[in-house]
């Protein structure tokens, strides 16, 4: 019984983290699906989202506003606005001028952007990690009090529900709206979409904005869940999310969700049953194995190399 509870606890922790990874992974997968580049600076955009959310929360607390829904919604909106503006600007400044050149050039440009943004926040806000207030506390407890108790906190439930809402909205947006249809068209054939009168530059910008906004949501959620943030915490999270995107099949949105969940669960199982230190090794090892044996991922379409 206890073993089972322990297992479920790890499963819940993994699904929580995994669904937040999935939110970040959407940004990678959409950008890759459309222009075929790895947006290395995406992890930093997520980090900036978390910082903005914390700034907004602290600001509201100074103003004396204490009603939880208002705080959360204002913080969410602020983080989304700043992050998506950042995403737009990054694409405009660092990626658009090098689009269509040799593969390595946009990638190096993205790495440069990632280093730049990391140090931008580092210089402006200091390098120490800052406590993120846990606004949502409490939760359900399962199991008897004298042995292992499984807990499902309200925070975890919030993360699930928010992710679910975001993903549903995104799927609706992609499948129903005019811009979403244009997005799909551009990802299938950018040249043809251009000929048919779709403003591809606008669509590419829109992808970056959407990805950044979802990363900001993840920033707020994971900031609250972990309880502290620092300028470097976007880097590893970005890598994990990229792994999730590759795992599920890069370019595929349901793949990103699936990949995020699998990655989260395998990570929490490693730290639950082996050791917390090796959880990064497991996720990078997973990434390497997937790329070696099934580079298209679980739900990705095989890429035909045209000569």
């Amino acid at each position: 019984m206890q073993d089972l509870l322990y297992f479920f606890q790890q499963l819940i922790n993994g699904l929580t983290i995994g669904s937040a990874y999935a939110l970040i992974a959407i940004g990678y997968t959409m950008v890759y699906g459309i222009i075929g580049m790895i947006n290395f600076a995406h992890g930093e955009i997520y980090m900036i989202g978390a910082y903005t959310a914390l700034i907004a929360i602290t600001g509201l607390a100074t103003l004396g506003i204490a009603w939880l829904p208002v705080i959360l919604i204002v913080a969410l909106i602020c983080a989304m606005i700043v992050s998506s503006t950042m995403g737009w600007a990054v694409e405009r400044v660092a990626y658009r001028p090098v689009r269509g050149r040799h593969r390595l050039i946009p990638l190096i440009s993205a790495i440069g952007m990632s280093i730049f943004l990391q140090n931008y926040v580092h210089l402006a806000q200091g390098s120490r990690n800052i406590g993120f207030p846990a606004l949502i506390d409490g939760g359900f407890q399962f199991g008897s009090a004298d042995s292992f108790q499984m807990s499902l906190s309200y925070m975890q439930i919030t993360i699930f529900i928010t992710t679910l809402i975001c993903m549903t909205l995104l799927s609706l947006f992609i499948s129903r709206s005019r811009t979403g249809r244009a997005c799909r068209a551009v990802s299938q054939d950018i040249g043809m979409a251009n000929l048919l009168g779709i403003d591809t530059n606008r669509i590419i910008s829109a992808t970056f904005v959407i990805g950044a906004a979802l990363a900001a949501v993840a920033g707020l959620l994971l900031g609250m869940y972990y309880g502290s943030i620092d300028p470097l915490f976007g880097f590893i999270a970005g890598l994990k999310a990229f792994t999730a995107a590759v795992l599920g099949g890069i370019g595929s949105i349901p793949g990103a969700m699936l990949g995020g969940l699998i990655l989260g669960v395998s990570e929490s199982m490693t730290s639950g049953y082996l050791s917390g230190e090796y959880k990064d090794v497991v996720s990078f090892g997973l990434l390497i194995l997937i790329l070696l044996f099934k580079p298209t991922g679980l739900l990705g379409k095989p890429e035909v190399e045209k000569i």
Binding site: I38, T52, T58, R101, L107, G112, M113, L291
Partner: protein, 423 residues
Amino acid sequence: MAANTLKHALFCAVVTLVIAYPILGLNLEAEGINVTLAGADTSTVISVIAAAIVVFLFQLFRENILSALKSIPSPLPKTQKEPMAENKRARIESWVLTGIVILALFWPFFVSRGSVDLATLVLIYIMLALGLNVVVGLAGLLDLGYVAFYAVGAYTFALLSQYAGVSFWVALPIGACLAALFGFTLGFPVLRLRGDYLAIVTLGFGEIIRILLNNWTALTGGPNGVGGIPDPTLFGMEFGRRVKEEGNVSFHETFGIAYSGEHKVIFLYLIALVLAVFTALVIRRFMRMPVGRSWEALREDEIAARSLGLSRTAVKLSAFTIGAFFAGFAGTVFASKQGFISPESFVFLESAIILAIVVLGGMGSQIGVVLAAIAVTILPELAREFSEYRMLIFGAAMVLMMIWRPQGLMPVRRIHIPLRKQE
């Protein structure tokens, strides 16, 4: 049209405000558990607003500014002279380079200990950058985990000296070969991957190596690192005040001179110099050999190169292994210079710095890479108050280089040998 420009300019100004103000203008301050928000000083706020205004004005008069910039004559007028004859230029170049190396040999005897120490570090970076240049610049494989091979070299020497008492000169080839072996075994499966996937896999590999070094406490000492790494010896002569190992003699007693801590520093510098020159010469040789040509051929056009019969795996693997070999070299020298190593020295940032050196110098260009290594290592030391902005500037420089000068500051000049005239 004018209304559109105005709208666009306003939009850009607002974007600047939104991305700059919240992060720069509102500072989070942690006092214990409590976090408070403080407005930044007025000068920051004013500069943020000034930046927005500059962006607004630039976007508004963009056309005018760009055309004005174009009409300014270039400060470097194009000369009408014929380029120098290839063999003449090569001769002059080799004389100049030899002169520089000879100067570098005698230079440490006249300067302070601190600058010799810094110069040794520069030489280590030169070795690393030359090695990465083979992988990224010549073969076109983006390796973001290059620092892992550097770590393998450094840890090989550190652990061999700790557990087996191996000296620097024995560890140097072992470290380099082990790093090359790591490169080979990693390269074998991953080189099938496309460019950007390869970048991520090597990045993951670098992180795995670092995490292993950090957590395998029984062998590597974990975050505490390995200390007491011996200095190199000169034919069994030690440079310390007292001889540490049985059978060795000390340098200053053999030559009957007074002990000075500088001897060791200068000796290390000379070793680094010799190894760096060796690295440069070997790689230069490789570049002229068929294997070097095939690296570049594969980088330029993989399909054409393969249809001409080049084996993709063999060519890429050779570049990867040779790059890793020289990283192991540099790692051994680094371990011996520091006397103490820990996983802290082998983080991703280090890989990014080496990559920045290669990119700034001009991918594939040896002289450019050497100059960039010198600049990147020395500039932050010269401008101390500037050094916290170092990485910020690196990042920005990488982006700007990719946009304006992807070939680097000193682009490669193709080495070519003219065909002999047929009788």
